[in-house]
């Protein structure tokens, strides 16, 4: 919880600290110690401190706050991304696409894998952004709904289109205009994610799974079905199964989905709601079938031939992880050049071949086929026309809806 430390101590507390530091002798007698710590700080100072520390309101103005751009003088980018989300060479020390970027532009990329969870990462950077401070990062990668929240709160900067010619030209149509960032003014996808149904052939033992209904209703799968703790994926997939559109639904529709899932929880059909750890449940056969992320499935299939996936006839959910430039970033132009670089087909193909998520770059197919023919033909990496037609996105939520829906979903998952 230390990330929620107050930005600065209130005057009372600060004064007490200063006193105890500068005037050690006087401060350190037993009486003054007691007065300063227990008596002083906790009653007088404490009350003042209680009222003093609030959380400041988010920046009202959309469009974010820019700092002076030091891109020209300091040839660096601080890039925060998720673990195992970039190409690495066999020695494990070099990242070929980033190295090529540095070679071409002379800009060093400080690449940190410090985003493990959207919620946690938001908790980490929110106090700095709310206080109008530099987070020390020039480029961060966040999933749609959090990217939408960052834009809504005015925590990220508008991108300069003139630095993004390839990105503008090559962005796949599927991702071009989400309702939370029309025309991609603030964000560009790093990779796309397909949410599908995965199964373990051995654990299924002949039972056929084709839809979310099968997961929720087939008594043979009781206690061996998994859903994701990511609300939009679990709700979205079920909503599609119920014939509603996740891009435009009402609160009643949402409640109906929750009720349907609740019934499955109550009768013990759903074993657990999981994060990324579903992969171990699935490979061990503890999950016979579950809602899963496409990129994981490609990698699991390489190790375990029993793992398979289905795209339900009702459709599947698509989301993206998006590159954003937080407020006060020192190297905005450099960051934009990096975004644009990953929209050139060669680096995009190299990246897609390595990490197996959906490439957001149109026209990458021939380049990917040169590196890895099977990857280029895998619809989980490059969705074909038929698959793209079934792709759906979750609509953006207002902050009120977000809280209310998350509450209901938390209740469904046990807390």
């Amino acid at each position: 919880m230390e990330q929620y430390e107050p930005d600065r101590p209130t005057p009372a507390v600060a004064a007490a600290m200063r006193r105890s530091l500068s005037n050690g002798r006087a401060a350190m007698t037993r009486r003054s110690l007691l007065r300063a710590s227990a008596g002083g700080a906790l009653t007088v100072g404490g009350l003042a401190a209680l009222t003093g520390c609030g959380i400041p309101a988010a920046g009202k103005s959309q469009g974010g706050v820019s700092a002076d751009d030091h891109s020209a003088k300091e040839k660096v980018i601080n890039f925060s991304n998720w673990p195992e989300y970039i190409d690495v060479d066999d020695s494990g020390k070099h990242r070929p696409t980033l190295d090529a970027f540095t070679k071409r532009t002379g800009v060093q990329v400080k690449y940190t894998e410090d985003i493990n969870d959207n919620d946690e990462f938001f908790g980490k950077i929110q106090p700095q952004l709310a206080a109008g401070q530099d987070t020390g990062r020039d480029l961060i990668v966040l999933t749609d709904w959090l990217a939408a929240r960052m834009i809504r709160l005015g925590y990220v900067q508008k991108l300069d289109a003139s630095n993004l010619p390839h990105a503008f030209a090559n962005l796949s149509d599927q991702f071009r205009s989400p309702d939370w960032d029309p025309g991609r003014a603030y964000s560009y996808p790093w990779q796309g994610i397909s949410t599908v149904i995965a199964y373990n052939k051995k654990a299924l033992d002949g039972v056929e799974v084709k839809s979310v209904s099968d997961l929720l209703d087939n008594p043979k799968l009781k206690g061996r079905v998994g859903f994701l703790t990511e609300m939009r994926d679990s709700i979205g997939m079920t909503m599609l199964d119920m014939g509603k559109d996740p891009a435009k639904f009402t609160t009643d529709d949402y409640d109906a989905v929750i009720a349907r899932l609740q019934k499955a929880v109550d009768k013990g059909q759903i074993r657990r709601f999981t994060g990324n750890d579903y992969t171990s449940d699935l490979t061990k056969g503890d999950f016979a079938a579950c809602v899963a992320w496409g990129g994981d499935i490609v990698q699991l299939q390489a190790d375990n031939p029993d793992v398979g996936y289905v795209i339900p006839a009702s459709g599947y959910m698509t989301s993206t992880d998006n590159m954003l430039i937080p407020n006060k970033a020192r190297h905005k132009t450099n960051a934009e050049r990096l975004i644009d670089y990953y929209y050139e087909p060669e680096p995009a193909a190299e990246l897609a071949a390595y990490i197996n998520y959906v490439s957001p770059v149109a026209g990458v197919k021939p380049y990917l086929a040169k590196i890895d023919k099977s990857a280029a033909d895998n619809p989980l990496i490059l969705p074909d026309q038929a698959m793209q037609a079934k792709s759906h996105a979750f609509r953006s939520l207002s902050s009120k809806e977000e809280t209310a829906y998350q509450q209901k979903f938390a209740k469904l998952t046990g807390a």
Binding site: C53, A57, Q126, S280, D286, S399, A410
Partner: protein, 307 residues
Amino acid sequence: MAAVTEAPPLAPAPETKPPRKRGRLVPYWLLLPGILWLIVFFALPMIYQASTSVQTGSLEEGYKVTWHFATYWDALSEYWPQFLRSVAYAAAATVLCLLLGYPLAYLIAFRAGRWRNLIMVLVIAPFFTSFLIRTLAWKTILADSGPVVSTLHTLHVLDVTNWLGWTSGDRVLATPLAVVCGLTYNFLPFMILPLYTSLERIDGRLHEAAGDLYAKPWTTFRKVTFPLSMPGVVSGTLLTFIPAAGDYVNAELLGSTDTRMIGNVIQTQFLRILDYPTAAALSFILMAAILLMVTIYIRKSGTEDLV
């Protein structure tokens, strides 16, 4: 006795006065780093959390202190099942730890001989890997098609635990039993170490004396060993119970929707729902509840010094 008389008399020489004065302050100087640490990493965050718990607002509008104490009541009435569950699981894990840990600590202290150090290293060895990895390992051990579960099934143990409501169906994972087992496993060393230190201090001659007075081994244990190990029992149970009650990793990885503990609720409120006041209030309620239980426990157990 001789030592006392031989000690040199305290010479009230005038030149020793300034050093003595400085000497008086030394303890406080030594305290300074600790106190500063406590202020920065304990007192300030506590004040901040206390403040958060009585604020209202939203991320967009910011949070302001409105002395909204109703948050506490709302949080308690909404999440009391998870509170009760946390206490029950932590208590069960603590009892299990005591039952498993006491014989082992006894063995190390009195019977291990030259194996003592090796066994101690083995007790501490799990700490060399991360908490998360150790917990995840249990998912492999207890997998549905794994040897443990099939053995339990053949022996009809699962029928009994199903009947008790500790497990459901032919599985152990994603049930209360798995969560309690995970808690027991993860906190067992915290029970063994204090038990060992207090048992090891018992003078072996006391056992001989008890034998000389015709006490049977069981009576010796009941009347001599166990009472003397009470400080270890009390501190061991506290070191197990307190972190177990606030734990959320075991419930997250080994549990299911009906095994979520209060730690999970706080995490969800804080990170997912972004309801900071409720999360802070829940933390304080948990802290108060544990403080209360621990105070009563220490009073009842009647031990003054905890190892």
